[in-house]
């Protein structure tokens, strides 16, 4: 099974995402922002970082990258896509997920070990978790505050598309404590915290994040 990991200029967590894919037992395939080619992968990860410097609104330029056209088409066809941090911002800009990520309410960049509650265990990326389970993964972002209009938030809640919620402190001020959401079909997941930094207790606060990559394996293998 092959999982693509996109590198834009300014992408930072691509090595981590690739390591997580490998640790889960799949093959990580590097994808280049300038190539409109998904190289036959079964799923795509849009990793964290500061694509093109993100001097404009985060993700606003990356969504126009040649590779993103392919990602949008594939996602509409049902390919599992995971957007982490900057990747989540990019998926929102690309219209694959609703809402937007804005400046943290405290105005500072925040790097901390964050507890999340798993709210959805049916999406392509969350089947390995128990509903209501709490997992510990790093959160590290300056523009991680999830916002959307009330109607959208109600719809997300009603359709069970809120995948993860902040537990305890919600340091970026995300509306309704939302840390991650899925698309209508549960194939596309975007979240601000970094599961790829929590695959080994040696280098992360836990190995709780590995569940997302293992879930994907189950999804693709059973498909």
């Amino acid at each position: 099974m092959r999982v693509g990991v996109i590198t834009f200029p300014g992408t930072l967590d691509d090595v981590d995402a690739a390591r997580a894919v490998t640790t889960a037992g799949a093959e990580a395939v590097p994808l280049w922002h300038g190539d409109a080619d998904l190289r036959g992968v079964d799923a795509v990860i849009v990793p964290g970082g500061f694509s093109y410097g993100d001097y404009l609104r985060c993700g606003a330029i990356a969504r126009f990258a040649p590779v993103m056209g392919e990602v949008v088409t594939a996602a509409r066809g049902g390919m599992p896509v995971l957007g982490i941090c900057n990747g989540f911002q990019i998926l929102c800009e690309a219209g694959l997920l609703p809402g937007a990520l804005v400046r943290n309410s405290g105005l500072h960049f925040v790097c901390r070990d964050q507890w999340l509650r798993v709210e959805n265990t049916t999406s392509a990326w969350t089947t390995r978790y128990d509903r209501g389970a709490e997992i510990l993964v790093p959160l590290k972002s300056g523009e991680g505050r999830y916002v959307a209009d009330e109607a959208t938030l109600d719809r997300l809640e009603g359709e069970g598309r809120v995948a993860f919620r902040y537990v305890g402190e919600n340091r970026n001020g995300a509306l309704r404590d939302i840390a991650g959401i899925t698309d209508e079909r549960g194939r596309v997941l975007g979240l601000m915290p970094h599961p790829e930094h929590a695959i080994d207790a040696l280098t992360g606060p836990s190995d709780d994040g590995l569940g997302m990559f293992l879930s994907l394996l189950d999804t693709v293998v059973t498909a």
């Binding site: 200029p9 300014g10 410097g53 993100d54 960049f109 790097c111 590290k140 790829e196 040696l202 280098t203």
Partner: protein, 778 residues
């Protein structure tokens, strides 16, 4: 010498060429405004056999500045080389003189690390000053052919509650984070220290670690006649020109109203995205073996890069300055040569590799331009220091021996004199200061100490730094040292710690520097790594003050002698002088960074209690009644006087060996260095880090105040699994290291109980320890 035409476009006008300089020997030049002394200017004229051109004057003045030439410190820094033995040199692949020292860490890996100051810019413009400080040290590491893998920032500010600290600190922290986070480098350590002498003169030191395979080491050389010189990265602009602007305003016509050209601030502006791309581009160029020599552009910009590259190689270089891509119009050759625009590198490339080189740059959207080539020099020219010829639209504006620019600047033996008030300072000990007595006062002192600005949690700062990126961070703040994995297969890694107690250094700079070395050494060992190499950033006041030069000389000697005693070499360093406000110098602050090696990061020793079900607490080393210069003397009495704690490097070495052996044999479950704030501070931090309570029982007859707050060196608090206690204490006894049982960890407890003194809830301690910086800085 540019002018503005009617459309507002600047047009090039005649520049000060070598021919023009030869024809106008008597033309007055603003060398004093550029910081050159009369005799220095005369020496330049003697070297060139004529007056320098504007461009040459710009180059010499910036390269002969204190910052670039080390003219006041050189005579003292030689002592580092003189005290480095062959044995210490054995593990070094490159040392002082290269951009950064390189250490062989085993398994075919080399690690390079260095710390540099960016103090003055950070006071003027905290965010950009700090940001470009990170950017500069990262390019230094990159220029060694290494991939930068981690950063750390030792920072010092004025009093925590001073209004100006509220301006400077948040800006510096945001700048360090904003730049480092965007580069994708984990920030794994550093320091935050407050003292009134840093008001008006904050210290922003930046450290970077890089790793590479031993065979990939790149040194800056420009050898090979016919090789091309390629400038790549950001365009060159008017930022960071600093002093050289006097040449521009002298020679610039048409701006009497000040509207002719925008004056940019002397502090450079950073663009971390460009640097991130530049890093990946360089690493691909290295991988494809397309680089013969490489140099980063930092202080002194192209002046430094061209003169250093040329003199490191065969000595000859020709540069066409008009090929340099600019981002401002009407820049003069002098400005282009001295611009400190960030995110630029200069490489020497074989002619047959130029196309491939430019292709890699194009892939990363990095601007790259061939600006010159390596040229042949005659024997006579070589003897004079090579030949660097720089042209501007076909006319020669620089024609000089590059070695005289880069390496043969003035060297001063500044007057050195022990300050007159030193004896008085030493005589003013803490002996007479009132000490807390009784449980109630001791309890209050514990809380007051852990919440004081220098001892309180640094999370407000470090939570703004990404410590996780790249997925190899094993230890980071608040651990004693930062530790990263270098080899994912074998688990080999490195640890780094930086330390300096400027108060100790003020009382005795020789001992203070050794205490800084001892603490960094101990911090690295506490994590389980073996100390291997030293870097330093020597922050001092004005070298023109004989008292400051005495502090400097003493600190250098103390550090060098200490390194020889510990058997670890100094692999690089940086000097920052003129850190003073008016006539008041900062505390002498020789920041010492120690790099350690660990064969497998999985055996690292954490700081927090509670990783094993039952643990015994042991205090390793000896506790003496030592409070002069201590944090307690500052917090309780605002006092600084006396003599710093005794230093015993033999003991430090033994302590490190025992702790490393304990880590290797699985006998330790936690370790925490004892330094500022003493045992009380270490117990509180380890209990909070592990979110586990403990019971502290001091030895029979011990003075609880001395045991809790003394800052005696050579000590560590360790937690030993009960099953290993006997084995570990037997080892300590056999090796002659005092180990005193001071309590037990209690996994069931949510409190730190200091028997006979007080009991503190973990929540109470956490509130006191964590509340201070957020309350001050928001």
């Amino acid at each position: 010498m540019t002018s503005t035409d009617l459309t507002g476009q600047q047009t090039a006008a005649p520049v000060d060429t070598v021919d023009h300089a030869a024809a106008t020997p008597g033309l007055p030049q603003p060398y004093r405004e550029l910081g050159l002394k009369d005799d220095e200017y005369q020496r330049i004229r003697a070297i060139l056999g004529r007056r320098p051109t504007d461009a040459e004057l710009a180059m010499y003045s910036v390269m002969w500045s204190e910052h670039c030439s080390y003219k006041s410190s050189k005579v003292h820094l030689r002592y580092f080389g003189e005290t480095t033995t062959e044995e210490m040199r054995a593990g070094m692949l490159a040392g002082i003189g290269e951009n950064a020292g390189v250490v062989d860490i085993g398994d075919g890996w080399a690690v390079t690390f260095k710390v540099e100051s960016h103090n003055h810019p950070s006071y003027v413009e905290p965010y950009q000053g700090a940001a470009t400080g990170v950017g500069g040290i990262v390019r230094d590491i990159l220029a060694m052919g290494a991939r930068p893998v981690a950063v750390a920032d030792p920072l010092r500010f004025g009093p925590a509650d001073a209004p100006d600290t509220r301006r400077v600190l948040p800006g510096v922290v945001a700048g360090v984070g904003g730049y480092g986070n965007c580069l994708g480098l984990p920030n794994i350590g550093g320091e935050v220290v407050f003292d009134e002498t840093y008001a008006g003169n904050p210290l922003v030191n930046a450290l970077c670690i890089g790793s590479m395979r031993v065979e990939d080491l790149h040194l800056a050389h420009a050898s090979g006649v016919g090789n091309k010189v390629i400038l790549f990265g950001a365009r060159t602009g008017l930022d960071g020109i600093g002093g050289v602007s006097v040449l521009a305003s002298d020679s610039f016509s048409g701006d009497e109203t000040g509207s002719g050209r925008k004056k940019l601030p002397s502090v450079q502006v950073g663009d971390p995205f460009t640097e991130k791309v530049l890093i990946e581009c360089c690493l691909e160029l290295f991988r494809d073996r397309l680089v013969v020599g490489i140099q980063d552009l930092g202080g002194a910009g192209l002046s430094c890069a061209t003169s250093e590259l040329a003199s490191a190689g065969d000595g000859g270089m020709r540069v066409e300055l008009d090929r340099v891509p600019l981002r401002a119009s009407g820049m003069t050759p002098a400005e282009i040569l001295s611009s400190e625009s960030q995110e630029r590198m200069c490489a020497v490339v074989r002619p047959e590799d130029v196309d491939a080189f430019l292709r890699v740059c194009a892939k990363w959207d990095v601007t790259a331009t061939v600006i010159g080539e390596v040229t042949e020099v005659s024997e006579e020219e070589a003897a004079r220091g090579g030949r660097l010829k720089i042209t501007w639209h076909g006319e020669t504006v620089v024609d000089c021996p590059p070695r005289t620019v880069a390496h043969e600047g003035p060297v001063y033996q500044r007057p050195v004199e022990r300050p007159a008030d030193q004896d008085e300072l030493i005589a003013d000990t803490t002996e007479a200061l009132a000490r807390p007595s009784g449980p109630e006062e001791l309890r209050e002192t514990v809380l007051r100490m852990i919440s004081s600005p220098n001892l309180a949690s640094r999370a407000w700062v470090t939570d703004q730094y990404d410590r996780y990126v790249r997925g190899n961070t094993v230890l980071a703040q608040p651990a004693d040292s930062g530790m990263i994995r270098i080899d994912e297969t074998t688990g080999r890694g490195v640890a780094v710690a930086t330390d300096c107690n400027g108060r100790y250094c003020r009382l005795d700079p020789y001992t203070g520097a050794q205490l800084a070395l001892a603490e960094a050494y101990r911090n690295v060992a506490a994590g389980g790594a073996t100390p291997a190499a030293v870097t330093n950033c020597l922050n001092f006041g004005s070298p023109e003050d004989p008292g400051v030069m005495w502090q400097f000389e003493q600190a250098v000697r103390g550090l060098a002698d200490g390194c020889r005693e510990l058997g670890i070499p100094v692999t690089g360093g940086n000097v920052s002088f003129y850190n003073q406000t008016g006539s008041t110098a900062i505390l002498p602050t020789p920041v010492v960074g120690v790099l350690g090696v660990i064969d497998d990061v999985r055996r690292r020793v954490p700081t927090g209690f509670g990783t094993e079900p039952g643990e015994t607490l042991l205090l390793l080393g000896e506790t003496r009644d030592e409070f002069d210069g201590s944090e307690w003397a500052r917090v309780a009495h605002g006092h600084l006087g006396g003599v710093p704690p005794r230093v015993d490097l033999g003991r430090e070495r033994l302590l490190a060996e025992v702790v490393i052996a304990g880590s290797r044999d699985g006998m330790l479950s936690a370790a925490h260095d004892l330094s500022e704030g003493g045992l009380a501070q270490a117990v509180v931090e380890s209990a909070l880090a592990g979110q586990t309570g403990c019971r502290v029982v001091l030895p029979e007859g011990a003075d609880p105040f001395v045991w809790l707050f003394s800052e005696s060196a050579g000590r560590m608090l360790v937690a030993v699994p009960r099953s290993e206690e006997l084995r570990f204490t037997d080892m300590c006894r056999a090796r002659g290291l005092p180990a005193t049982k001071v309590g037990v960890v209690d996994p069931e407890s949510n409190a730190v109980e200091i028997q006979g003194v007080a009991t503190f809830g973990l929540d109470e301690l956490r509130t006191a320890w964590e509340g201070t910086l957020p309350a001050l800085f928001g």
